[in-house]
Symmetry: C2
Subunit: 467 residues, 2 copies
């Protein structure tokens, strides 16, 4: 058998990585819970029909499809069908249910919408749920982009109140403050983007405009303006869009300038997005901590790729000068998500934490908390067959006190056991040897300082319980 490997774009997580990831998950989970969000989990496998057509053409191509089982057991008509359907799949973007009925979850939002529709009679609305699970995309793997990665979402469905938007921004604020990451939370309204499209006389090109604006950070204004030309936006329109990208100043000044810009040409109904932003920020300021490491900012160029957003949108970037990383979180309001599954008029708003990127940033900035849980810190040596009964009696005594302790299970040489202790970075090594047995004690060795002390059971329990 050749050397084993794992699929490109997937990862194994060793003990220290799992613990660090758990630290992030637990931090976010605690805050979700404090805001009254409840956990749900959906299957990794969804019906392919549930996912197809929800993520655009590009998205459809990136869905991992699962082959139906029992293919070679088929005869006659079924076999012929399998051959025909395969030909179709090779000829066009098409997935035959005869060949593949199921697929891997592509995000957490569509499964959530499906869940809400399937459980609509039992759910108390508004329903606030959070979900932390892996998703799969057949994207080309690169630094920071994986084919299996975790999403960590909180959504509210069934409430139109902008208080939800404000609470979700507060959740971002508290989570990143707890994680000690300096961030900017950029917000905008899709309604403003729609008004801009109208302003330039191309309301049907809203998607083109948002896709182009989305790239402003990467390709600069020159790149965006070129792309707008290819989308047949005229020069006057492009100038109007550029003007908007240049709006700066305080939040109030930004809102006032945009307000004037839109209303002078479009009238008051174009200002719904401005009102949304103003009200969301007002709520946010009533609820948020004043002193934290980040800031909430209006960014009129913020577009967020996904088509289904209709109201406030948000994106989080790390502002530490050493960090070059795209967004580490994002979200927004979608007015009719469950409509995809036949349940109309249910508004939703949600945010997502980019767990893998947050991990990379904390790793880069070395911000793991020193007291982070690292598993058993204490190793009990195996001092040989003759002393085994004595060693095991200590193991039992200490474990009964709830002390996490690892026994070296083989009667190996002390050297080998010490090497093991070193490689695993235990803090204390316990030795129950001959002398210790004679005195009915145990030696506790601080592995960093080398300091070693003999203790009786009461002393040892007290000492180890306090580390």
């Amino acid at each position: 058998m050749s050397k084993p490997s794992i699929p490109e774009g997937t990862r194994d997580f060793g003990p220290s990585e799992v613990r660090k990831r758990q630290y992030i998950f637990n931090t976010v989970r605690t805050i979700f819970e404090r805001y009254g969000f409840q956990p749900i989990e959906t299957p990794a496998m969804e019906q392919l029909a549930t996912l197809t057509g929800k993520y655009g053409e590009e998205g459809d191509r990136l869905i991992f499809k699962i082959l139906n089982n029992g293919l070679h057991d088929q005869k006659d008509a079924k076999r012929i069908k399998l051959e025909e359907e395969w030909q179709k799949m090779l000829s066009k973007p098409y997935s035959s249910p005869t060949v593949t009925e199921r697929a891997l979850r592509y995000d957490l939002t569509i499964p959530f919408a499906r869940y809400v529709v399937m459980n609509q009679n039992d759910l108390a609305l508004p329903f606030k749920r959070y979900q932390m699970q892996p998703v799969w995309r057949a994207d080309r793997p690169q630094k920071g982009r994986y084919r299996e990665f975790w999403q960590c979402d909180a959504d509210v469905v069934g409430s139109n109140s902008l208080l939800n938007e404000a609470e979700l921004i507060c959740i971002y604020q508290q989570a990143f403050d707890t994680l000690q990451l300096p961030v900017a939370i950029k917000i905008n309204s899709r309604k403003i983007l729609a008004a801009i499209a109208q302003l330039v006389g191309a309301p049907e090109k809203l998607t083109d405009i948002t896709i182009a604006l989305d790239k402003l950070d990467k390709i600069g204004w020159e790149g965006v303006s070129k792309e707008l030309v290819t989308k047949n936006i005229d020069q006057e329109g492009i100038d109007a869009i550029q003007k908007i990208t240049l709006i700066a100043g305080s939040t109030e000044a930004q809102l006032a300038e945009m307000s004037q810009h839109l209303s002078s040409k479009l009238g008051d109904e174009a200002l719904a997005g401005i009102d949304e932003l103003r009200n969301t920020l007002a709520y946010y300021h009533q609820l948020a901590e004043q002193n934290w490491m980040g800031a909430v900012k209006i960014d009129f160029t913020l577009a967020r790729g996904l088509n289904y957003y209709t109201g406030i949108i948000a994106e989080v970037v790390c502002t530490h000068p050493d960090v070059k990383m795209g967004s580490i979180g994002g979200g927004g309001r979608y007015d009719d998500l469950t409509g995809l599954f036949g349940l109309k008029n249910l508004s939703g708003v949600g945010i997502s934490f980019g767990i893998d990127r947050i991990y990379d940033v904390i790793e880069e900035l070395k911000l793991w908390p020193p007291q982070m849980h690292n598993g058993a810190k204490i190793l009990l040596l195996h001092t040989g067959a003759a002393l085994e009964t004595y060693v095991l009696s200590w193991l039992k005594t200490l474990r009964q006190q709830g002390i996490a302790i690892e026994l070296y299970p083989d009667a190996s040489k002390v050297d080998k056991q010490m090497k093991f202790a070193n490689k695993r970075s235990f803090e204390y090594v316990l030795i129950a040897g001959e002398e210790e047995e004679k005195q009915q004690k145990i030696s506790v060795k601080n592995f960093k300082t080398g300091h070693q002390e003999m203790m009786d059971a009461a002393q040892c329990i007290e000492f180890l319980s306090n580390i």
Copy 2:
């Protein structure tokens, strides 16, 4: 769009189910950690080649394979190859890498072996790992059998000591005691089964014999003996096997009788399995709690289906009279697991918790702990636009104290909000209405008793912090 559904054999977990499952996971995790086991996680997608041939012919058929992407973009030679390979797959049990390179994890043991081989230079041996992740099997779904289900495994690799077996049995004991489930932990040695196969003159039929014996509980001795006939075991052999199934009495008596049975015909080397059992039990008794709800028992008919076991094997069944459920846990030693991936002479021993079945048993016996975490218990009502600022000031004050609290986000009628509180089973409802604002207080209503009291901030914080 037709009504959405999820694939047969998969499940959504709502908030209360997620919390109950977390209770089981956390209970088991705490005990794993106390014994020095460390967490790892492996990808859901493995290379198909990593899995194929590891679970027997039946297992291979049950692996969920993932279709390669970009199939319809292929031309000429690649397209012809895709057509040919598909024909092959329709004609025989075969999986073409041109069609499918990846598959879903089938269990946690093979990925663990792969992980150890890939990380052999970095791991400190013995390596004790635990892993709690879903696995997927294209089995026919039925009560208690899912296509997506969770495994929860602890394994030690790189140590031959039977202390590992004893510690793993202690883990079972403590976990099921904490979960308040009465269980029997049945143990046996594969070496004894091998000796029995030798005894009946059919050492090459060890697998046939174990597969037949495995069904004793289900089909009785008559069924087993019929199956043995079809496997060409002669009547004398079948009688010898039956004798073994009838061995009873105390552990010591069982061991003595089996000892005599084997050694009289095969000599002392047949007794390795007896020694293993005796030593494991001796270690176990030195380490285990004396008073617990279950028992550890020798069962010479215990076989465990999996081929790779070579030493001690174990299985856990719930002994509560109301519970009809197969094994809720099992494991054993496998002398050469990583050999499958080219790393020889590394012995492993592990156990698995059947999380889904344990969940069902706890549910059936209503053994969820009353203090189990159920999310936010407190709802703050929205008393209308005019009072919003006052309501939000309370929300901020209480959340700052770390109190988990949910705000009803819309200014709906009080009736509607109370219905919501009822459906969600909140314990307390907070009302910051006009009178409360006048007095700068808040009303705390106990939702069960109906008792309502006005409190100032200090009183309210103290009260809510203590519930």
